[in-house]
């Protein structure tokens, strides 16, 4: 109904003020009254329900039945021996407690991760613009919307500037709607036509605007729909899916073997109850029901570790994919470089560097502010670089303005490629011009040699141009500085200027990026630079970082457009730098790399980057400078926008995959060991080498802990010296199945050897005790063997 009201009515109704917003007290009151601005989560299960659910497992039910049968037999034969029965129940309960604890731990890790990647909103409160968590927005808040934002609540617009919003999540319509705050609509207008409103979860794709929050949380339009669709389950990763399949197959195979063992036992005239208990124990021992749980624990703890290192995983399957990344396509500015221009070189014909900086710093629109006890410039990056370079030499723009007050200016425009400021200098005026050297030099007739103004000859112009070119070749952004003295501050003309010097700036590489690129190369990962910047700048930085090497090529977006996709796919591995590319080109680049079988990680920050992020095997959004849309489309968010963090995440991804593989290797091979022990014992006509409760203890208690330990192993020191995993190869590739069977059989046969030795020399009880101890120790030794690919006496992790 807010779409039928005028702006002032909405303002009155919500007792808010469009220019200052709400104050702290009002926010607090409304928070208490309306609650948090979030959709209701799926109802959380209590610890008790979680505990009860642990018993909802086929094998556990069999165990409970076995316990009941054991108790009934004890009662019927009058022995009163309920020990087996009690032990089985105790082990089942212990297993359930461990399950609840592990699940809670995994859940907590994922919750914490959700918290980190929670969306934010820009609001005006107490006259100040603040960025807050979207869930803290309250009705009456003034929200500022920008391109790339998610709308945090239902909002009546009060100001728009070409504001276009995509409302597909509500209306199904993907064409963005142009909004207008001044329209007052009829009551019955459908949502898609409410152009003076924006709704929670819709996306701002263009322009900007402001509005008053009218509804939050479950009262929003999307909240009302969400009532029907609340789903909060994390998606299963490929490993989890694969393990569920493997578990099922192994489970059925084990049940068949157990039934076979039971029948063989009956033929061998072993008491049916004893045989039944042994078969049940073996079934529980053999079925790797703990596998999916261990993978979940390893993944959830792994992503928490990664979050601490600034890589926030949004989609769990990304962890596995990360480990297999073979191409990383990275944005240049802000990810490979610092996004902070720095003055690195100056050139003049006699004028001192301080003089160049003094004039240049005056000819800027930068604000100088104190940060701690240091002065810093705030404004456009190129101008900030000049002002900061001047401040480092104690040339303070504010002090200079006190002496030479700025009285007029001609702002920069992209056609003139120059800007001019005019300053009062005692009795006369000085106009200072800075701009592109090629343009500015044409406006100069003299140069300053440090003492006097000298006529600019063609020789000198050539010298200046040569130095300008040298700086440009080094990918420096070059600004020329000139001045002239004038008698009048009005009608300034940018001509007859006196050339003073050139200032060369660069956005330097981020610390550690060069080393990270080298690590990638060793790890068989190709690093690709993608930038909207000029090709010369891109090439120079790429060369410096080791991305563009001897036989690598660089290409512009324009050239890319002329290459057919099939040719691009053929030659794609030759390219390492893509300059002047649009977000649309990124999709082509991703697809071309993928056509070679590569697993591609792609960074992005803008709304238009979303298709590329979704198409990449791992979409990586920038946490600091990325839009909400990009973050939502990505699999991973970089909290510090740093390339080094991507490489660290790949390292962690590889380690997590390897560790999961080790845990699986351990669990299945030890289960096979247990089957072989019992099965071969029966086949060889021996007494049962292990009793049901002994098997249960080994499987439910002693198996899972080493498996978890293997899953949480620290990163192997050689992990980045290996080539990426072949994405086509499965979890059990490279002979893992045969290793599992061979090693499992070895464990089983050695346990049987221990039993036979004890049984023959000292009797069956000693034999079983020796088999019990040997099996436990064999599993421990096996765990150490799996832990490292190197000799356990050499292995060292980092």
């Amino acid at each position: 109904m807010w779409h039928t009201k005028a702006i002032n009515e909405v303002e009155e109704n919500f007792r808010t003020n469009v220019s200052n917003g709400l104050n702290e007290k009002e926010v607090e009151e409304r928070k208490n009254h309306f609650g948090e601005n979030k959709l209701a989560d799926k109802k959380k299960e209590s610890i008790f329900i979680k505990f009860v659910k642990q018993f909802n497992d086929f094998m556990i039910i069999i165990l409970i039945i076995a316990s009941i049968i054991s108790a009934l037999v004890a009662k019927m034969d009058g022995s009163g021996d309920y020990v087996d029965s009690v032990i089985i129940i105790a082990i089942v309960v212990l297993n359930a407690i461990m399950g609840v604890v592990q699940e809670a731990k995994a859940e907590k890790s994922l919750e914490a991760l959700k918290e980190i990647s929670a969306p934010t909103a820009k609001v005006r409160r107490n006259g100040k613009i603040l960025t807050i968590k979207a869930e803290e927005v309250v009705p009456g808040d003034i929200v500022l919307l920008e391109s790339g934002n998610y709308v945090p609540a239902d909002i009546r617009l009060i100001k728009t500037s070409n504001l276009k919003v995509e409302e597909a999540s509500l209306t199904g319509e993907t064409v963005p709607v142009l909004k207008d705050e001044n329209v007052i609509l009829d009551k019955d207008v459908p949502i898609g036509d409410m152009i003076n409103m924006v709704f929670s979860s819709c996306i701002v794709v263009n322009g900007h605007g402001e509005g008053v929050v009218t509804e939050t949380g479950m009262n929003t339009k999307v909240g009302k729909i969400a009532n029907m669709i609340i789903e909060d389950e994390a998606p299963e990763t490929p490993i989890q899916k694969k393990l569920a399949e493997v578990g099922k197959t192994l489970g059925i195979a084990c049940l068949v073997i157990c039934a076979l063992i039971f029948v063989i036992g009956l033929f061998k005239k072993i008491a049916p109850v004893e045989m039944f208990m042994t078969s049940v124990g073996l079934a529980v021992a053999a079925i790797p029901e703990g596998l999916p749980a261990i993978v979940t624990i390893v993944l959830s703890i792994g992503v928490t570790k990664m979050a601490r290192k600034n890589s926030i995983i949004r989609k769990l399957p990304a962890v596995e994919t990360l480990g297999g990344a073979s191409v990383i396509c990275s944005d240049k500015t802000g990810t490979l470089t610092q996004n902070k221009m720095q003055v690195v070189q100056m050139y003049s014909i006699g004028a001192k560097e301080d003089k160049i900086l003094e004039l240049a710093t005056m000819c800027t629109d930068v604000n100088v502010e104190a940060k701690g006890n240091k002065l810093i410039g705030i404004g456009e990056p190129t101008e900030v670089a000049i002002v900061n370079a001047a401040l480092e030499r104690n040339i303070n723009k504010l002090e200079l303005y006190k002496l030479k007050n700025r009285v007029n200016d001609i702002p920069f425009d992209s056609t003139r490629k120059m800007m001019t400021t005019v300053h009062k200098d005692s009795s006369e005026y000085i106009s200072i011009t800075k701009g592109a050297p090629d343009v500015l030099l044409k406006k100069c007739t003299k140069y300053f040699d440090g003492n006097t103004e000298v006529i600019l000859s063609s020789n000198i112009i050539e010298r200046i141009e040569q130095n300008n070119n040298k700086m440009a070749e080094k990918a420096l952004r070059v600004i020329a500085v000139a001045y002239k003295k004038v008698t009048n501050s009005a009608n300034i003309k940018e001509e007859d200027l006196v050339f003073v010097g050139l200032i060369g700036m660069i956005d330097p590489p981020r610390e550690g990026v060069k080393e990270a690129v080298a690590v990638c190369r060793k790890a068989g990962i190709k690093t690709v630079m993608i930038t909207g910047d000029h090709i010369s700048t891109a090439k120079a930085i790429a060369k410096d970082l080791g991305i563009l090497r001897k036989y690598d090529l660089a290409i512009t977006g324009l050239e890319l457009k002329n290459i057919p996709q099939n040719i691009l796919e053929k030659d794609i591995m030759k390219y390492s730098v893509f300059a002047r590319v649009s977000p649309e080109d990124k999709v082509r680049i991703v697809k071309a790399y993928q056509s070679t079988g590569a697993v591609v990680a792609m960074t992005g920050d803008g709304v238009n980057d979303s298709p590329a992020l979704k198409n990449a095997n791992i979409g990586i959004a920038m946490g600091k400078n990325g839009t909400d849309v990009a973050k939502n489309a990505a699999d991973m968010v970089l909290a510090d926008d740093n390339f080094v963090t991507i490489v660290e995440a790949v390292k962690q991804g590889r380690s997590i995959y390897d560790n999961i593989r080790k845990a699986i290797h351990f669990l299945i091979s030890t289960n096979i060991g247990e089957i072989v022990t019992i099965f071969m014992g029966l086949v060889l006509g021996l007494k049962s080498p292990l009793l049901a409760i002994q098997l249960l203890w080994i499987n439910l208690v002693t198996d899972s802990l080493p498996a978890i330990a293997l899953g949480l192993e620290p990163v192997d020191k050689d992990i980045m010296n290996k080539k990426p995993r072949d994405s086509k190869k499965g979890l059990f590739a490279d002979g893992l199945w045969s290793r599992i069977f061979i090693e499992g059989t070895m464990i089983g046969m050695l346990t049987l050897l221990a039993f036979s030795l004890g049984n023959n020399l000292y009797g069956v009880e000693v034999g079983r005790t020796m088999a019990f101890v040997a099996l436990g120790m064999l599993e421990l030794v096996h765990c150490f063997n799996i832990k490292s690919e190197e000799s356990i006496f050499k292995a060292r992790n980092i």
Partner: protein, 60 residues
């Protein structure tokens, strides 16, 4: 954990285990460490044969 179950008599009774003497422990320990020797030999052979160890092959 496994050893604890054996050496604490009350728990051992529950699991129908008996105390082992030194010789029996020695037999058990020797048998338990056989895989260590076999795996170490296999790792060495792999290192000589491939220059790298088993897992690393998949990344070549």
């Amino acid at each position: 954990m496994q050893v604890t179950v054996v050496i604490i008599p009350q728990i051992a009774d529950i699991f129908k285990l008996v105390p082992l003497n030194k010789i029996q422990w020695l037999y058990t320990i020797i048998i338990s460490f056989i895989p260590l020797i076999i795996m170490e030999i296999q790792k060495k052979i792999n290192e000589i044969k491939f220059g790298k160890v088993v897992y690393k092959q998949e990344y070549q």
